[in-house]
Each structure stands twice: as structure tokens, then as C-alpha cells.
Amino acid sequence: MMHALTQLAYILATALFIFALHWMNTPATARKGVYAGVAGMTIAVLVTWVQPSVVTHLWIILPIIAGFVVGIPLARVPLTAVPQRTALSHAFGGLAAGLVGTAKYYLWFSEGPENLTAFRMIAIIVEILLGFLTFTGSLMAAGKLQEVKWIPQRPVTYPGQNLMNLLLLCVAVGLGAALVLHPTATWAPQLFPAIIVMALVFGVLLIIPIGGADMPTVIAILNAYAGLAAVAMGFVLDNKLLITAGALDGSSGLILAIIMCKAMNRSFSNVLFGAFGQVQLTKGAGEQKSYKGETPEGAAQILEQASLVVIVPGYGMAVAQAQHKVRELYDQLKKRGVTVKFAIHPVAGRMPGHMNVLLAEADIPYTDLVEMDEINPDMPQCDVCLVVGANDVVNPAARSDTSSPIYGMPIIDADKARSVFAIKRSKNPGFAGIDNELYFADKTWMLFGDAKAVIGELVKQLAGESGMH
């Protein structure tokens, strides 16, 4: 009876999780999805808690309280910190899977070695490898995103790096195989921690060669790993709810990673083993090109006369916290009957969908946030394209320059607009070291300064003029 009720509850929870994700297909129903998810999770927790094998409740209540104490502040971080929060929660997910796998192994080793069948041992090894490498890998990613001092921001590379990583992984898998074959050998309990340590080290080594621009893909991959670790736990515990929920998470991470890779015209292996951001340092010192500067006054006048303005936001907007000023500019232009759209590149920012969330936070209606593929056909009709802290995603070199490291990456066609204003912090060439042809084009004018200050100045100009009329 208990078994039947438990299974029914788990099926219900699975269905609720599927609906939770289904309702995310439009912002109109998305919040319903959260409620479905919460309901599914509550059912899962309560039903598991009342299982007859669960006898000591203090050990459950205290961690749950601690989870609330830490979880609530983590949910209130500023939205610019969402990428690192996400990475941190992948780390927690990996840690949970790894620890449960470890606990189960030692438990069965001592209390029921016949439970350690080959299939189950494979699941345990997969669980701890994925769990622990996701743990340290995600911590590294979170540290890089948070710009923690002792974690290098620039990609760290050294000769033979990939070979060494591969070797380490092979050794860990090899030792895992030995454990699968002899799960109850006298040396097995000593070997197990060795595999854990290797997984932990591998996680760190996997992330140190990754640069900021690749973070959206890497976060998505770590998301998939965390999900797959939960799936492996389901195999270990013979629990279908863990498998279905983990599979939903795993496929989500996989699809996001594929979308990110396509948006950069790169492959998985290239992201993980390519060490982007190192290659292009050789170029640059060649011809001296000059920018054309523009004052906020002049720019405001041109913006005012436009009929279609497309704003291209990038990570620079997030860094400068300029989204609220951008919204003021949006309001000013709208008031004058100018159509304003936002062109969102899939990899703009540090995680999938990063820009959308920041602009939504600033109260910009999501109907004006347009995907790259949809906005590009309209770019020739665009009077002014305003680039706010974006660089690579509008670099025409991606289309024309075969020697460029970003060659082949789909871009927002800012260069096809009638005129371009680009807000840039300094006159130094390129944030990432890649020269951007767009800045030297005849129709481009540069607005130098902090994005927030420059847009604030534009807003002041526009508002001031309307006051005089």
C-alpha cells in the first residue's frame, strides 16, 4: 500500500515538473510553472519523509532549516549576479549527488555487499565522478564570474593541458572500472576516495582554461552534468522520480549548451578544450585607425529624429548597471514616437538569457526584446543602432575575416543600420583584444565613457529639449 501511494505521488511530481517546464514556453504562463514546480517538489519531499525507513527526523529538519537560511539570501542577489548564483547552485547539486553516492557505497560495503552489483557500481561511479567534478568546476566558474581575487580571470593554459586532463580522466575512469569489477575488495574503500579526489581536481582543471565569453556555454554544460548526476543517483537508489527529474534538467542543459554553441559557431569540444581568448593577442599593432567621437548632445539630436532605434546590449551594460538608464532612454524615445527595439544575441552576457532578465528588471516590456534572427532582416531599416557594452556580437569580422577567432559566429547586423552609436569605456582597442571594424566604419560614431553615465547624459539631453518646447 505504502509502495503504491509512494509511486503514485512520484508520478504526480514528475507530471508537475513536466508542466513546470512546459509553462515556461511563454512569459504569460511561466509563473504558473514555478507553482507547479514547487508543488511537485513539496510532494516529493513529504512522501519521501514519511517512508518507514526514515526514522531520525532531527537529521532532516536541521539541514532543511539551514537550506532555507542560506537559500533565501541566495535568491535575493542582484540580477547582475545571477550567473554566479546559478553556477553556485550547480555546485551544490553536484555536491549533493556526490555525497549521496559516497554514503550509499560505504553503507552497502558494510551492510549489504550483495547490493553492489555491477550495474549499480557503474551508476555509483558515474554519480560521484559527475557530482564531484560538477562541484569544483561550478565553484571555479562561480568564482570567475564573481571575480574572486585568487581565481585567475584570464584563461589559464599550459602546454599539454588537454592531454593531461584527458589522462587524469582516463585514470579516474580506469580506477572506477576496477571498483566496478571488485566492489568489495579490501582495497576498495581506499580507492574510492582517490577517485573522488581525481574528480574534484578534474573539475578545477576543466574550468581554468575557460574565458568569460564562453561562460554561457560552460554554465549550460555544468547544468547538464548536475542533472545527469541526479539521474545516476536515481539508478543507484532505484528511484524513477530522480531519473525523470534529472533527465529534464540534463536535457535542458544540453539544449541550452547546443544553442550557445551554435550562436558562437563553435563545437562543444572547442569550447571545453579550445581556450578562447588567448589566440588573438598576436594581431593588432598593424595599421593605425581612428575613431570618430560624438558628443551626447549631437547623438541625442540624431536619436530624436530617428524612426527606428535598435539597442544592442552586451555584458558591458550589466557591468555598468546601466539597464535602468537604458529604460529611461527607451521611455524618452517612445514619448517622441520613435520605435525602439532591443536586439538580443543568444550569448550576450554571461549566461543564456542574461540580457532579457536585466532589461525585464528595468521594466522594459518583453515584447520589445527581439532575438537576433528576427531583428537582422530589419536592420537596414534601422536609423540608429545603439551598441551598449556589446562588442563581439556586433563585430563584422565574424562575417568577413577568416583569420578572426570569431569568424563564422552569427552576429547582429549593426553595420547594416544607417548609423551606429557605440558606447565604449575607453579608447583602448577592443575589450577582448579583437579589433572591431564596426567602430571604424564611416557611419559609426563613438560615445566614450561609462555606459550608465553616457546614457544618463543622452536622457538628460532628450528630457531637457522636451522641457523647452
Binding site: 513546470a20 517546464l21 512546459h22 514555478v34 514546480g37 535568491a75 546559478t86 560505504y106 548536475a226 535542458s252
Partner: protein, 123 residues
């Protein structure tokens, strides 16, 4: 750490009685996994690109379903070390559940159409 496990191991195997051999239908589990992955891909593919950040935080909360395994390990009649591992895992999963769902809802609340936008917006 390891020696602690070993002491525990010998003590428990002495105490443990007979065990029935596990009858786990692994192929059934694999079947469920493959089908669930296909459903996941079908559903995720249709998620609005606007919502990829909230999507990631909600799947994060959902994958904290590891909470189920953690409860079983932390709350069972097991040696202390095992229960501590379970309790840490439970803490980690619970943190993900709470912060994952809360931040997803917080972000989704921000997505508005033009009509629903407060006049002039907040500054």
C-alpha cells in the same frame, strides 16, 4: 576518514542480519531515463528564448530532486558518518530548491507586456 569508515564497516556487518538479494529492474530504469530525456528535449525546445535564465534556475531547483536521496540517507538508521554525508547533501539540495524557485519567480515577475507596465515605470 577512511579508517573511520572501516571501523564502522566491520561493526555493522557483524550486526547486519541476512539480506534479500536486490531485484532491481535496471533496464526499466534505463527505459524511463531515455523516454524522460526525449520529453525533456521536446518541452525545453519550446521554451521562450526570453526565459532562458529563469529556465536555468527552475531546472536547477528541479534537479535538486536529489533531496529525495538525501532524506533517505540522512534519516535512515545508519552509522553517524553516513548520516552526516546525507545531511550535508540535504542541506545543499534544500538550498537549491529554496533559492532556485524563489529567484525564478522573482525574475518572472519582472517580465511584463507594455499594458501591464506601471505608468512611466519605476526609476
Amino acid at each position: 576518514m577512511t579508517s573511520l569508515f572501516l571501523v564502522q564497516a566491520t561493526a555493522d556487518s557483524a550486526a547486519a542480519g541476512t539480506h534479500t538479494l536486490p531485484t532491481v529492474d535496471f533496464w526499466g530504469l534505463l527505459f524511463v531515463f531515455v523516454l524522460a530525456s526525449f520529453i525533456g528535449m521536446g518541452v525545453i525546445r519550446r521554451v521562450s528564448r526570453l526565459l532562458h535564465t529563469p529556465l536555468m534556475s527552475i531546472t536547477n531547483a528541479i534537479s535538486a530532486i536529489a533531496v529525495v536521496g538525501s532524506i533517505l540517507v540522512a534519516g535512515g538508521e545508519y552509522p553517524l558518518v553516513i548520516k552526516v554525508l546525507g545531511a550535508i547533501a540535504l542541506f545543499a539540495s534544500m538550498t537549491n530548491i529554496v533559492s532556485g524557485f524563489m529567484i525564478t519567480d522573482r525574475m518572472l515577475k519582472m517580465f511584463k507586456t507594455d499594458e501591464k507596465r506601471p505608468a512611466g515605470g519605476k526609476s
